[in-house]
């Protein structure tokens, strides 16, 4: 098979996801309202919380609302990745994914296309959010908004791959809601999205250890450093490694011969 059909397939999957996103305006608004509520309401109440210490990569003292922005960017991508997976469960049940999965394209390619589509949508949401934050007065260096793009792509793939992996365990949408609660919220709260690790450590060493093992922590730190024109190599490597592992497991999970879907009796059931 030549490259052209692959590109055609990829543009179809990405285009479908974008169309769905554009048509579901309420989804777009909801995706933005969530982090904005955190920024304008939650962070406003804690704006003095971090004014007493410097945290890398910041060169000077910052308000809490400045600290929380990269974490909220991660939140947008986390929720979007899960939502994309939610659409996989829906598609599988309603038959559209079944059509895709029986096409001649390899499944890993179809899944990567799906991840790419979800990541692209999440990046659009992130930049709209960053623009609102900029107008509000939370302004990173201008170059940082360019440098953060690769970090957003990697993070989008990581959380998307996690969502895909989870979707292999889920047969119905009702079950997925439980996994949202047991995966998304712990992943978000037990990370450096809301508080720096040193502050979590002051509160509870156990939670600090959990947060230090959470790959989402490193995704947020990768975004934070990139936004301020710095490279956190440790965060990049850990996020990339987590992405590879999760993507590998998701591909394995969608393998009809060896995956979880086979154990459950087929993806379309």
């Amino acid at each position: 098979m030549s490259l052209l059909p692959y590109l055609h397939c990829m543009s179809g999957v990405v285009g479908r996801e974008l169309l769905r996103f554009v048509h579901q305006r309420s989804r777009f608004v909801a995706a933005l309202v969530r982090p904005l509520v955190w920024l304008f309401v939650f962070a406003a109440g804690f704006r003095m919380a971090l004014g007493v210490a410097m945290t890398e990569p910041y060169q000077t003292y910052i308000l809490y609302e400045v600290y929380i922005v990269p974490g909220l960017v991660g939140m947008i991508q986390l929720f979007n990745g899960m939502q994309s997976s939610l659409s996989m469960v829906y598609d599988r049940e309603m038959g559209s994914m079944r059509v895709l999965l029986v096409s001649p394209f390899p499944r890993w390619f179809l899944l990567v296309c799906k991840l790419l589509a979800g990541t692209f949508v999440s990046i659009v949401q992130v930049y709209v959010f960053l623009l609102i934050a900029y107008i509000y007065g939370i302004q990173a260096p201008l170059l940082g908004y360019v440098l953060v793009l690769p970090a957003l792509i990697v993070t989008g793939f990581m959380v998307g791959a996690l969502g895909l992996l989870l979707s292999t365990f889920v047969r119905q949408l009702e079950n997925f809601a439980g996994i949202m609660n047991f995966v998304i919220f712990p992943m978000f709260f037990l990370s450096s999205a809301l508080y720096p690790l040193w502050r979590i450590r002051e509160g509870s060493y156990l939670i600090y250890q959990i947060a230090a093992l959470n790959p989402f922590t490193y995704a947020v730190e990768m975004i934070r450093f990139a936004l301020y024109e710095q490279l956190n190599i440790e965060a990049v490597l850990i996020t990339l490694a987590a992405t590879c592992v999760l993507l590998g497991l998701a591909i394995l999970g969608y393998n009809p011969a060896r995956g979880m879907s086979a154990r459950k009796g087929g993806a379309g059931e």
Partner: protein
């Protein structure tokens, strides 16, 4: 007239809504800043001196690298500093040694020390004579020292617990603030006599003349105000500037150090434990912004070209660097324990 400045002002930043014009301006500033950093000969080829009250040292910061390049051992409890009129020496009030240590700016060593009277805290140098004015808190006087002849010239009685000192650009007027009397004592420098006494806010800490010498601004720590005194006709308080930092407890807002740009644009006031520097329009007295800096910001100094403001943050032990055009804190540099005063090499 920077040679007589003990500490200068800065301003702080805090995120807030800004228009697209501001965004464009900041973008251009970023490019300009980047260009400056890439230019081999930097505009920031100067040294910043910071007195560390608990370490008994002076930290010397290179303005280009923004790193501490030297730490000078001085007497006990160094606080206010001032340069000699020829710029060859830095004078440091070392309170617990009751002396003024004099540092050679070539060798960065203390070369001599002059007795100052009890508990010297704030010092100013006269722009016309080789005099150092010293506030002696425990004696209720301002001492006048001749640093060339190394003699004690005079003592000027003022109110209870003098602290802040300000001197007019022409050297004609000296203002001493007394923290128990809550007064600004206006001293005729020629007669060496307090000729006017004006009530200001509670616990006045610092006095600073506007660059044109027409006004003197006096900060009050407890009142959290700056009293603006007319120095041409009435010699009265003509205006009072108040501070209200959003989201910050009122009691933590304490006005201390003041400095002003020579173009009459901005005045900066350090607001102590509120960790903010207020930015004030020198002409309208309107508070334009509050910039977040380190803990317990005490005194301020402008760079020679007035593009940067340096703040001493006592509790967090660092100096915050503020970009004056962008009104934004750009970096904080760790120094010694309890940095108190800051001066920039003339």
């Amino acid at each position: 007239m920077q040679h007589s400045v003990i500490h200068s002002d800065k301003k702080s930043f805090e995120p807030r809504i800004r228009g697209s014009k501001k965004m464009l301006k900041q973008g251009l500033q970023s490019v300009a800043l980047a260009t400056l950093f890439l230019t081999p000969f930097s505009a920031y080829a100067e040294r910043i001196f910071v007195s560390n009250e608990k370490d008994n040292t002076i930290s010397v910061i290179d303005a280009q690298s923004l790193e501490v390049i030297e730490t000078i051992e001085v007497g006990r409890r160094p606080r206010a500093m001032a340069f000699s009129s020829d710029g060859s020496e830095l004078f440091v009030a070392v309170g617990d040694d009751e002396a003024i240590d004099m540092i050679d700016l070539e060798t960065l060593k203390v070369v001599r020390s002059q007795s100052s009277g009890e508990d010297p805290e704030v010092i100013r140098t006269d722009p016309n004579k080789p005099y150092i004015y010293v506030s002696n808190e425990d004696d209720n006087i301002v001492s006048v020292l001749d640093y060339e002849k190394r003699t004690h010239v005079d003592q000027i009685p003022v109110g209870v617990e003098p602290e802040g000192l300000g001197i007019s650009p022409d050297g004609k007027w000296l203002i001493a603030t007394t923290e128990t009397s809550n007064m600004a004592h206006i001293i005729d420098a020629e007669k060496r006599e307090a000729v006017y006494h004006r009530l200001v806010g509670a616990r006045p800490r610092h006095a600073e003349f506007t660059p044109d010498g027409k006004e003197a601004w006096v900060s009050a720590e407890i009142a959290a105000t700056v009293s603006v005194i007319d120095m041409q006709e009435s010699f009265d308080v003509e205006h009072t500037i108040r501070f209200d930092v959003p989201g910050v407890p009122r009691e933590t807002v304490q006005a201390v150090g003041i400095t002003m740009t020579s173009d009459g644009r901005y005045a900066f006031v350090a607001l102590g434990p509120s960790n903010r520097v207020a930015v004030i329009d020198q002409q309208s007295y309107e508070v334009l912004d509050y910039i977040l800096v380190g803990q317990r910001v005490w005194h301020l100094a402008l760079s020679a070209d007035e593009s940067r403001l340096y703040t001493t943050n006592g509790v967090s032990g660092d100096v915050t660097v503020i970009d004056v055009d962008g009104l934004e804190a750009i970096k904080s540099v760790p120094v010694g324990r309890f940095p108190w005063g800051v001066v920039v090499e003339p």
